[in-house]
């Protein structure tokens, strides 16, 4: 009954005209940038952050999270029609989605991905609603060693899953830590600032994101002379038929579970969960040979997984106050700007934000279904914007986004620098994700580390003597050993390379 009355209160917040409009704007913008390749939800949310300064905190979060899950819907449209992932999370959808489109089944592919997203998104929100409050209770018992262990586990899993060598992933995560250390530390000592006053508060998240994900991506794309052919197909019958549903319903359910569980783990879980879902569906399928040739399961599973992961992503933020992805880091930033402390007490102290956002997600998922199916024609028009016009605009938005957060040209310098760094990293086989995560987690990680040592009077065994942190760290070590002793990683790499070739 408690949840019931809470969610009713949530709907009364989410259904105010202002919040409904903001939710719609969020979903619309999310779909738009999801459809457009080269600009992602993290950068967009960062860009729109200043717009929310004058809004009540609940309204701000409602709009910003709408962009996040909206992007997951939009990304699949581009993947299916153009064979380019509009969003990293839709990369795997390209394989079977595009094949379906070539066989004239673009309609059902778009349809099942929208319905799958809707079902998974809705169930994800239900899980979030049911699980977040008890986990928050549990998290109140977490001390610094446990929080430290959770973050180490997150970084390890992320490094383990990123393509390329584990050493490179760890190295780049350490570089991320150094970037996170720039500024004044918890004891008030200025570190690695090069004497630049703008760096005393640390290097801004927004310029780093804009550089690594926005500018670097564009630089990689403009290496080639710009041509993009769009596979023009007539889209008829968006509704999947009975057979499609029969084949998709289990992948959607499994995708929802996989997505939500992976979403809780730190890292770009939207992307990873869609890969895992694809692999699971292929293994369980009675006709694995159809995968890669337009199997609807290969669209339904991953698309559900990446949407459920969105909901799972909110768990660590709402319960531990730790952002587990770049998008969540920006959302945490938004909460802090609005004077709300993310963490175990958020649900108790700010029920309007928690329940209002949850309720708005139900509404938002419904809006997205409408935005994505009847309005598909609009998104196809957006897709036809040539890249030669699009990429200057993307760079322009990155530029303004980096500048506008602090109205600082130093931030623009930071963005350009990280654009170049991100480009060179891609060229030398370093993934940006571990860098960003380590950079985001660095202040939390260092604080937990130092507090743990103070608590134990300088005894490092504190991390291994407490049962919860010992278990979590043991899992992290297991991942490192698994990497050394097994060929899983190699297989995954080959799998990824194969996708790249196709």
């Amino acid at each position: 009954m408690d949840i019931f009355s809470n969610i009713l209160a949530g709907f009364s917040i989410a259904a105010t005209p202002l919040n409904l409009i903001l939710c719609l704007i969020g979903c619309f913008v999310g779909t738009l940038i999801g459809v457009l390749p080269g600009i992602g939800p993290a950068a967009t949310i960062a860009l729109l952050l200043p717009v929310t300064f004058n809004l009540p905190p609940a309204s701000a979060i409602i709009m910003l999270s709408g962009i996040f899950y909206g992007a997951m819907y939009g990304g699949s449209t581009t993947a299916i029609l153009v064979n380019i992932p509009g969003e990293a999370a839709a990369a795997i959808t390209c394989i079977d989605g595009y094949q379906m489109a070539r066989q004239g089944r673009a309609g059902p592919a778009l349809g099942i991905s929208a319905f799958g997203s809707f079902i998974a998104g809705t169930f994800g929100v239900i899980f979030l609603m049911l699980l977040a409050p008890p986990i928050a209770e549990l998290a109140l018992k977490f001390g610094p060693p446990e929080i430290f262990a959770v973050m180490v586990l997150g970084l390890t899993i992320l490094s383990y899953l990123s393509s390329g060598s584990l050493i490179k992933a760890f190295i780049i995560a350490l570089i991320g830590l150094f970037i996170g250390m720039i500024g004044i530390d918890i004891a008030g000592i200025e570190r690695f600032t090069f004497g630049i006053p703008d760096f005393f508060d640390g290097i801004g998240l927004v310029p780093v994101l804009m550089g690594l994900f926005g500018v670097a991506e564009v630089l990689l794309n403009i290496e080639r002379v710009i041509t993009r052919d769009i596979f023009v197909t007539r889209i008829e019958g968006l509704l999947p038929n009975r057979e499609d549903w029969k084949r998709s319903i289990m992948p959607i359910s499994r995708g929802t579970a996989i997505g939500f569980l992976m979403g809780v783990i730190p890292g770009p879980s939207n992307t990873i969960s869609s890969f895992v879902s694809y692999a699971v569906e292929k293994r369980l399928s009675k006709h694995p040979e159809q995968f890669g040739k337009g199997a609807i399961e290969g669209v339904a599973g991953p698309e559900s997984a990446n949407n459920a992961a969105c909901a799972g992503n909110f768990i660590p933020v709402l319960t531990l106050g730790i952002p587990t992805s770049a998008v969540m880091a920006v959302i945490v930033g938004a909460l802090i700007i609005h004077g709300v402390t993310p963490g175990p007490l958020l649900i108790k102290n700010n029920p309007d934000i928690f329940w209002g956002t949850i309720a708005s997600m139900y509404i938002g998922n419904f809006m997205l279904l409408i935005l994505n199916l009847p309005l598909i024609g609009l998104w196809i028009k957006v897709l036809k914007i040539p890249y030669g016009i699009l990429f200057p605009l993307i760079l322009f938005f990155c530029f303004v986004g980096a500048y506008a957060n602090n109205n600082s040209l130093v931030d623009v310098n930071v963005m350009i620098f990280f654009g170049l760094v991100g480009y060179l990293m891609k060229k030398t086989g370093f993934e940006p994700a571990p860098l960003v995560m380590a950079y985001i987690l660095c202040p939390f990680l260092e604080e937990a580390f130092r507090q743990s040592l103070i608590k134990s009077h300088g005894d490092f065994s504190i991390f291994f003597r407490r049962p919860i942190s010992a278990t979590i760290l043991a899992i992290a070590f297991l991942f490192v050993f698994m990497n050394i002793f097994s060929g899983i990683k190699e297989k995954r790499k080959r799998f990824l390379e194969k996708i790249d070739e196709d």
């Binding site: 530390d185 080639r224 200057p392 103070i454």
Partner: protein, 174 residues
Amino acid sequence: MTVTASYEGPCVFMKQWRLALKNRDLISGIILLVVGAAVFLKSLSYPIGTFRTPGAGLFPLIASILLLSLSAILTLQAFLSRKGKGLAPAPFFPEKGASRRILLGFAGLVGYRYLLPVVGFAPSTGIFILFLIKFLGGYGWKASIFFSVVTAVIAYYLFQVWLKIPMPLPILRF
């Protein structure tokens, strides 16, 4: 024979040098070692404290030692695989003219950054968009000018008038 040997000497050296330059892991490993060493030395200048009362320098010190060891492994691996066969990776630039295009795009961004405080937001935006569409987007002058003017006007009203983002005042006023 001696003639050829003395002729081959620098040639072998150049070949080795070129191979080393192609070995991206080796180069990144060395750069990372330098970064790690710099952070290590800098951390020593901050109060390290003790494990009992950790100071500002402890965490970066530990992280830099980890980085130094991992980059040493990376460098060593790259150095040992130097003579191996799988050395020719995908070329750094995928096609001819790529380096020029990257340079143009990068120059555009830097130019925009330094033009903004001089001529103001709307004009610099227009020039930036014009430059990119014309020289990288593959459009003619007419279309490029049209798109850049439209973008500059919309950007001006959206960001400066509506969202009231304070832009640096131009040094040059028209």
